[in-house]
Amino acid sequence: MRKFNTKFFRRALCVAVNLLPLTFSAVHAAERASGDPNATSLRLSPAQYKQTIADVFGTNIVIDGRFEPEVRERGLLALGARWANVSDIGIERYDDLARGISAQVVGPNNRGTLISCKPKSETAADDACARMLISKYGRLLYRRALNENEIATRVKLANDAATTTGDFYAGFAAVLSDMLISPNFLFRYRTVEADPAKPGAKRLDGYSKATALSYFLWNSTPDDQLIKAAENGELQTVDGLQRQVDRMVGSPSMESGIRAFFADMLHFSDFETIAKDTTYFPRYSTKINDLAQEQTLKTIVDHVLANKDYRDLITTRDTYLTRSLAALYGVPITDTADNGEPDRFIKHRYPEGDPRVGILSHVSFLALNSHSARTSPTLRGKALRENLMCQVVPAPPGNVDFTAVEDTASETLKTGRDRLLAHSSNPVCAGCHKITDPIGLALETFDAAGGYRTTENGAKINTSGVHNNVNFQGAADLLPLIRNDRALTSCVARKIYAFGTGKMPPRGSAEWDAIEKKFGEDGYNVLRLMRQVALSDIFYAVPPAEVDTATRN
């Protein structure tokens, strides 16, 4: 059974102090920018934006600026991208970014590699050179060939600007900057064309397919080869699509896609608002925020690229550590780099019996889902349920009677378990807390920074509990239960689909059920799953609303 009976829990009143997330934007629709669920355009995420610029203009371009905050919808920023629009502040920021990038592209350092034609005069307009650049970069940035009208308009603007400023390059930079704030760049659209195989029906055009594919697998813009495959119709054939998908899955750029997906699923964007108290956690410096994410992503990428079983991420003893992460965890690590060299990530394997197994023992899970100076078993349990198992935890209701928690002097309630029991001894509250707290309490031997401890305020920490009617003593025997929970694999599959399309998989779809089944038969191989999704029909399905629109033309 995938979902809990939400009706029951909505009726139950919950005391949920620890349930309330640090920034209350997680689950609620309050964040939607526009209300129409039929929108299909997806705003580029900051990571996609940066990756795209790096792929189009090279890694010399420094992207120094801020982005519009993303919108998280049902646990994924990729779903929120459908709602995300560009606000006043957003357009300002994109404009700043665009001008910064354009200036560098035409600047003396990069001009040699990026501007492949020479204007007749550097201080005046040059039609031919401007045209060449605009077509070339327009195609890469808009992910389709620009039509003649678009090119001509822009060439004229570039010429005008070049004449006004007396600088050809400034003229082109102005137009490039313009293109970088255009919705054609900032949003991925799914546009349709007539389907020759089914008269009267529509299908996604080649460009839309290429865009969907590349942002799914590579988290970036289609490369030249992929755009060509779109243009020559290759992507509309079964063999052609498969050729491209296999090329992409085998490419090193696949790592970007894997990283982007898991960073989204694990809510790494929340790290922006993490502030740990260094009096309690002196080894949690601000750079740990970045190192923690990198540790988990490296661990996952390694695992996935080695074609390992996804479920083993919950129980694996392998990870990567730097010296400062190791000190935070309280484990030894040998780094033989010379004095003065920066910390490196080193492969680390925890010994048998070590309590730290799997990604749930990483700082990126433990510290992210804690308060600044205290753990929150409820937050951790909720994160596991919602982020990794797609199980909805009902929000705390507004009208709550808190008289049950009056007597919470901390002298008597020493551990997290004691404090939570005082809240959820009220049977009305226990209903909801039963979903989250046993899991979180099993992890109480990890403090709010991710360090290991056996006592809290002098009292021994009790990590036992029940999960799916099975008793466990602590994390060591809970995690295998989680690993084998069907919700774990079903959830990652659905979220991977959502990452690629901006929508959860369609209900009652036989094709989707087959994909999930194959995922299991393939030993829960994430790479193969992504390949399957990229080759499926539902990935490229044309929603009804678009069919209506297309017939308007």
């Binding site: 009096t279 309690y280 030894p332 780094d335 010994p351 002098g458």
Partner: protein, 400 residues
Amino acid sequence: MQPGVRLFCMRAAALVVGVVFVPASGAMAAQTYGYMVSSLSTATWNDYATNCPQNLNGYGLDVTRRDLIAIGFSKEEAEKMTGADADAERLPRDVAQRLLLRATVNGKPVSHYSAPEAVPNPPVIESVVGPVALGFDLDGKITGTEFTDPETGAKIDNQLWRAIGCSENFRAIPPALPFTEELTWALAIDSAPAWMMSITGEDLTKDGPVTVTFERATKHLERDANGDVMTHATYVVDPMGRSHNVLKGEIKGGFLTVANVPKFYLQSEMPFFPEIELDKAQMRMQVMPNGKLLGYWGGYYDWKRYAYMITSRPGSGADTLGLYHSLKRFADATPDPKTGQNTQISMTYRMEAVPAFHSTVDGKILASPAADASVSAAMARRDPEVKPKAGPSPPRAQVK
């Protein structure tokens, strides 16, 4: 030490991270705790009431005034040049030169830093007459020059303290440390390879014999988010082994002690702690509630080297010439066969160390932090660090 140290002590349980499941490198019989030396300074004992009753040495300007008188200015002139409206930092260039070139070698004026022996009428600074100082009985004899150690009550040798203890630079009560030493240490530890210390014994929770091993690490000390030395980091032993010391010690009566080390040597790269070399060394240390070690190293040190270390440090109020000759006067061991002048002086260092992991270059874990503060109960510090009662600062000196 940071002001937050007290808060650290209160949050002891939070800081001492449980380190379980780290495999012991040797047989089950031996336990080894790892540490990194996080602070080193000359041990001070500043009882202002009794140490320097004449209060002659004074502060920076007083030293300058004395020097000016020594090179021929009158008391009034000296006071005017260092008075409130004068800028003593920028004495007239010729005066500054004369102050500098007070030594005479082959008839020529030479910097007194390079030739302190060649200064006629070197200054005699006040030395410590108070009865108390930290240290060890290094020579096994009572000669009447000893102090009483405030922690152990024993009669101890620390002639270095006699020599320099009335100098402003060393007038600090922990957590404050001698100014230039603290400054130098704080700057240097971010680049100089660190010193490692491990304690090995059958059962470190009980009294018994132990081995204390010192090494130098390949890397410098790490700092945590508060700027303090980070605990629980891993350091790799420098395979060169120049600073490898294996010392016999014991845990007894609440202390870990090390005695009769003929030569204790640690090499560094710091500009002002180039090396530590103590003869007939002894040590004692205890574990603080927050898991850090606090202790003392004593032994005989080459007094000239110590004098040059002081003179090469930046800082104000260091009467370098006075200190040189004072150290020379109080040197109490190993006479030069030709001149009879003692070449070494008894001294004590104050040391702190934080828990750490030690590893060889090949990844073998040699030592780990103690799992729990209570495990080190055998050498746990029951009382706060011994200190003299803080009195009012000494008044301005009388320049005679």
